[in-house]
């Protein structure tokens, strides 16, 4: 019973709760949303124990939806999506709690959208039907657009539209690619189906068109990650978004890009994704993300922009780990996805707490406040250290595994990526100093209140996870290992074939744009 319905319950419950929030009086909105999201988390937690690591896709539910077009409602999780589901349900209650004071207008709409967003995010991770996946992808997009555009900062409309158009452009490409994939497969095999399993089984025989389809998927996901040079929507979106938006954007939405690589782009089109030229280009872009993202983060005057660029660097590790295709690197990439959600989520919470006090996110608006707000200082220090990958925090586990695994495939790129560990210290420690240390020379900062009980309730669970994963990550690694191994096997055993058509520039990105017209 639980095994069959839990995923569907996780999708339906927040939608129902969102509707209820809209109906009830405004002053109840946040409390109802909090309870609903906690119930959601409580429903997801047993997944941890009931999940069978070696069991492949599980908690499956598969019912016909639009039979005439081969569309089904299929959901399930494996060791890759399990942790994305857990992370999502874990972060949402915290974002609700973290928004208690931040959101003061249109509260009902805000919390209802947040709950709809929850359903959309979870749907993306559990969908095993490409049509369902696409629908969920859009369901996730629209609430986030409104969250940024309505409750954001001064320049929120620009940021929201940029976020929307950028992501939407990618997702349209993806839609075209999905349709083309289904049509081509249908014409070849006689069965028109959006089923993930079916498409995965038959995608091998596509021939050169696979390159263009891969390009379209890749571009959609690369924008979402975001990989350089498609990242410029991220700093704007983060700076303008309210705290809850930033946390979920960084914590969950970015992971949808790398999740897409793991679930769709690479398993469907391994020959295209692993063609030497494509591989080289993607590894290079990942490294550029790590180094360039870090260096640009270093010179940001705005704390939120700094974190946004640091996300580009962290996600570079994920992409690198995925393409290195060793067990350590792929599991490392999965760990970085989890860790980045926790650590960067916590950083955005902390910056949001500063913003609520001073209405500024500029590093130079602070200075020396560790003396005034010691609890806040301790929290920011621990979270920053985890973000720069200090051993015995979660950050180290992921980056170390990525480096160990990548070194076996690509020694030189691994060495370049290792400098990212240094660059991370170069952007976060100065920020820490400018906020917490140095003379307490601004009068506004002399009376800042320290963390409240509510704020502690937001941060303590995150910090507990940061330490737990750093000290004892094995329960997580054990659960994801078979799925990571299967991913590598799926991608590796694909027969090598003539993949690269004479591409105009050889770059996957350029190919993807043209690929939209191919079918």
């Amino acid at each position: 019973m639980y095994r069959d319905l839990v995923l569907t319950a996780l999708l339906v419950w927040p939608l129902l709760a969102g509707g209820v929030v809209l109906l009830l009086p405004t002053r109840w909105a946040k409390h109802v949303a909090l309870v609903a999201s906690l119930v959601e988390f409580a429903m997801a937690v047993p997944l941890w124990w009931t999940f069978a690591p070696a069991g492949g896709m599980q908690f499956l539910l598969d019912v016909p939806w639009i039979s005439g077009w081969g569309i089904r409602y299929t959901v399930g999780v494996d060791g890759i999506s399990l942790f994305m589901v857990l992370l999502t349900t874990f972060l949402v209650p915290l974002t609700v709690l973290g928004s208690y004071r931040y959101i003061t207008t249109h509260e009902r709409a805000f919390y209802a959208l947040l709950l709809v967003l929850t359903a959309g995010m979870l749907g993306v991770f559990v969908a095993l039907d490409l049509f369902l996946f696409y629908v969920m992808w859009e369901v996730m997009l629209i609430p986030m657009y409104f969250i940024i555009g309505v409750w954001g900062g001064e320049n929120r409309l620009y940021a929201a539209i940029k976020f929307f158009i950028y992501t939407f452009f990618g997702s349209l490409l993806m839609l075209v690619a999905i349709l083309a994939l289904v049509m081509l497969e249908g014409r070849r095999t006689g069965v028109y189906s959006f089923s993930y399993d079916y498409l995965l089984m038959h995608a091998g025989g596509l021939g050169p068109v696979a390159f263009w389809l891969f390009g379209a998927f890749f571009l959609a996901f690369a924008i979402k990650v975001p990989m350089v040079p498609f990242h410029t929507w991220l700093p704007d979106a983060h700076v303008e978004a309210p705290t809850a938006g930033s946390v979920l954007l960084a914590g969950i939405l970015l992971k949808m890009g790398t999740y897409g690589f793991l679930r769709f782009a690479l398993p469907f089109f391994p020959q295209a994704g692993l063609a030497p030229a494509v591989q080289t280009a993607i590894v290079a872009l990942a490294l550029v993300g790590i180094v360039y993202g870090g260096l640009v983060a270093m010179v940001q005057p705005d704390f939120k922009k700094l974190i946004a660029y640091s996300s580009v660097a962290h996600l570079g590790f994920v992409v690198l780990g995925i393409w290195a295709l060793t067990l350590q690197s792929v599991q490392g990439a999965l760990m970085v996805m989890i860790n980045h959600g926790l650590s960067t989520g916590a950083l955005f919470f902390l910056v949001g707490m500063l913003y609520e006090r001073r209405h500024s996110r500029l590093l130079d608006a602070f200075g020396g406040i560790a003396k005034v707000v010691p609890l806040f200082a301790a929290g920011l220090t621990v979270v920053s250290l985890s973000s720069i990958g200090l051993p015995a925090t979660n950050g180290f586990i992921g980056e170390f595994l990525v480096l160990v695994g990548t070194f076996r495939t690509y020694p030189v790129p691994a060495a370049i990526a290792a400098t990212g560990v240094l660059i991370a210290a170069m952007y976060l420690l100065p920020a820490l100093q400018r906020v917490l240390y140095n003379p307490l020379d601004k009068r506004e900062n002399e009376k800042l209140p320290d963390l409240s009980a509510r704020e502690l309730a937001v941060l303590v669970p995150l910090i507990a996870c940061i330490v737990w994963i750093g000290v004892y990550p094995q329960p997580i690694l054990r659960r994801m290992e078979p799925s990571a191994a299967r991913f590598i096997q799926t991608v590796r055993v694909a027969p090598p074939g003539p993949i690269l058509p004479p591409a105009p520039s050889g770059g996957a990105g350029a190919g993807g744009a043209a690929g939209a017209a191919a079918p």
Binding site: P229, K371, F400, L401, L436, N438, Y472
Partner: protein, 659 residues
């Protein structure tokens, strides 16, 4: 007892960790509970030292020198990678835990007196306990990754303690610099782990070192790369050229911190790492020569800077850099036991010197504080004649000075002599070591000189503190002088640890460490010099030390000094030395500022904002908008225009079709 040994071994790091947690909570909720904090802070160190002692005794009684590996849980296992959270007790880590907990306990006790009035007292002890935990994890870790946890953990504590008084920018800057420079080295450590795992399929010490001779061809590129990358880590942690610049700045931290972290324990971690990986370094002669060479050059280079520093702690800081250079000269030469021996003796006498300096600064600070003067309490030009006011401190610091200078029979004489002797012996096979030995001898001369200078200017001649202040200078309380006395005794006696056979000793430490070093000894046997040559070297070393001391006594005139604020600016070579050869300025101009400029002006403002976002993203949007605007202009609502456009369109289509 053997049955309890694993538990006792876990207690060694666990107790300081508990101290950190308790004091950390107190620091946040009850920062004024100084008595409780002191009891916890010092108590955990006493317990840890007791546990360490018990563990080492039990280990010795096993009469089995094989490493005792105690596993807690599976930490990181993915595919072939398998890392347990495990500790390893062997003769080498036994020496290290005794040094760390022993010297650590004394410095914790001293801190009770030194930090007593500080509002951050609880936070201080929390950090200090945390440091001891990470340091013990570093030396007890049974694999590279576990050691790396300690390695970066001690760096973190160093960062927190250097910037302990964080509301002054100079302190916060110094902490940040220490962390970032150390991270450069840590990237080396990280990459070394990747190479080692690639080649041996493991990161556990026992497996890596057992497989290394087979997995790595001697002198091959892989083992040389691994060893050099490890040494990059050592250069960061142990402040060697080119990464030493953070250590002098680290003196911004409280003085007991300088004694514990930046003299006795953390900075010696690099020496420990090389000794731990002796098999790898023995397989990589080029890397070993690099270690020895960098060590020798650093020893001399840092000693030259120490000649002209006025801040009493900075002299000691450069002296530490220089002495660490000796240790690397030792381990790079293959004299691993000698390097560890010098590590142990140096921990005693340098801790004594730093705590003595702390006692001096404490007295100076109290005096200036009472008279509301804002002169520099660490500048030797403001001292002079302090021996009259602080007789205990002065006597004990003289003992440590003579030990550091290498005067027999104090401990520093034996350990330094062993390293220089080994270097000279190695030179008979590899002549470049003559150069390393000569650099070491030159550094020894300068060491004797600058230490005598420090003592003369601080404790002798007329007092320059100020008339009113002079009357207020007092010897430190017993809680501070007590640890000094113990360290003084150790400074005198520690030479007995490894009394050389030449002088009728039993080379105890060398024999104790022999099992750890067996493979390296086989790969690279030590060279025995004739007895006459050994005696000549000893005589030469003593003569050099005596020359340094006597020259300083003869040519330096404390009575000619003026207080710091009246002092004329330095000129010529003196200024270059005082300015530390302008290395910080060089790094700033060549590395720091170009990187910042490149990141800000080129990467961010031009590439990111103008090119990617401005031209490509917003440019696309602008083009779409322009096309939309042009299109909307056509929608004029006038039928005539539509007809014209329609006709043109039809003609175009027809034209295309006809052709």
């Amino acid at each position: 007892m053997p049955g309890a040994l694993p538990t006792v071994l876990w207690l060694v790091p666990a107790v300081p960790l508990a101290g950190f947690l308790l004091n950390g909570v107190l620091a946040l909720v009850r920062p004024r509970a100084t008595r409780t904090v002191s009891v916890i802070g010092v108590g955990v160190l006493v317990l840890a030292a007791g546990a360490a002692g018990a563990a080492v005794v039990a280990f010795a009684r096993l009469h089995d020198p094989a490493p005792l590996v105690v596993r807690a849980w599976e930490w990181l296992s993915v595919g072939e990678l398998h890392v347990d959270l495990a500790l390893q007790l062997d003769p080498l880590s036994a020496v290290m835990i005794l040094v760390v907990t022993g010297v650590g306990t004394l410095i914790h006790i001293f801190s009770v007196g030194y930090m007593h009035d500080d509002p951050g007292y609880a936070r201080y002890f929390a950090y200090l306990n945390l440091f001891v935990f990470f340091m013990l994890l570093l030396v007890l870790g049974a694999s590279f990754p576990v050691m790396f946890v300690g390695w970066e953990g001690v760096g973190l504590c160093s960062y927190l303690l250097i910037g302990f008084w964080f509301n002054e920018k100079i302190n916060a800057d110094a902490g940040k610099k220490a962390f970032i420079v150390n991270r450069i080295g840590d990237v080396g450590f990280l990459l070394a782990m990747l190479v080692i795992f690639q080649q041996t399929g493991s990161l556990d010490f026992t497996r890596v070192f057992a497989q290394a001779p087979g997995a790595f061809p001697a002198g091959g590129a892989a083992v040389t790369a691994a060893a050099l990358l490890l040494f990059l880590g050592c250069a960061g942690k142990s402040a060697q050229i080119p990464l030493y610049t953070w250590l002098p700045d680290a003196m911004q931290g409280p003085t007991p911190v300088s004694a514990l972290i930046h003299a006795a324990t953390m900075v010696t971690a690099g020496v420990y790492l090389v000794a731990r990986c002796n098999v790898l370094f023995a397989l990589a002669p080029v890397a070993s020569a690099t270690v020895a060479g960098i060590g020798a050059v650093t020893a001399l280079f840092a000693a030259t800077i120490a000649l002209k520093q006025w801040d009493i702690k900075r002299v000691l800081a450069y002296s530490t850099v220089s002495q660490l250079g000796y240790m690397f000269l030792g381990v790079g030469t293959g004299a691993y036991a000698g390097g560890i021996f010098h590590l142990a003796t140096h921990a005693c006498f340098k801790a004594l010197l730093f705590l003595g300096a702390g006692s001096v600064i404490h007295a100076m600070h109290q005096a200036y504080h009472a008279t509301h003067t804002h002169d520099d309490a660490q500048d030797m030009r403001n001292m002079g004649g302090l021996a009259r006011h602080l007789p205990w401190t002065a006597t004990l610091m003289w003992i440590a000075t003579l030990a550091l200078a290498g005067i027999p029979p104090l401990s520093g004489f034996f350990s330094k002599d062993e390293i220089l002797g080994a270097a000279f012996a190695e030179a008979t096979v590899r002549p470049v070591w003559y150069l390393f030995w000569a650099l070491g001898m030159a550094a020894a001369l300068l060491t004797a000189f600058y230490m005598t200078r420090l003592m003369l200017y601080t404790f002798h001649g007329p007092n320059r503190t100020g008339e009113r202040e002079q009357a207020l200078l007092r010897e430190a309380p017993q809680i501070m002088t007590g640890p000094l006395v113990v360290l003084g005794a150790l400074t005198v006696l520690a030479g007995a640890l490894n009394l050389p056979r030449l002088l009728g000793g039993g080379a105890l430490l060398e024999r104790w460490l022999a099992p750890v070093l067996a493979v390296a000894q086989r790969l690279h046997p030590a060279i025995e010099l004739p007895r006459a040559a050994q005696w000549a070297l000893v005589a030469g070393a003593v003569a050099v030390a005596a020359t340094g001391i006597l020259t300083a006594l003869r040519f330096l005139h404390p009575e000619a000094l003026v207080p710091a604020r009246l002092a004329p600016p330095e000129t010529g070579l003196g200024r270059v030395l005082w300015k530390k050869w302008y290395v910080d300025e060089l790094y700033d101009a060549v590395i720091v500022r170009p990187v910042m400029w490149l990141s800000r002006e080129l990467l961010w403002k031009v590439i990111d904002v103008r090119l990617l976002d401005g031209l490509l993203v917003n440019g696309t949007a602008a083009v779409s908008r322009a096309i939309g605007w042009a299109g909307s202009r056509l929608e004029t609502g006038e039928v005539g225009v539509y007809v014209v456009v329609f006709v043109l369109g039809v003609l175009a289509v027809l034209g295309a079709a006809v052709r």
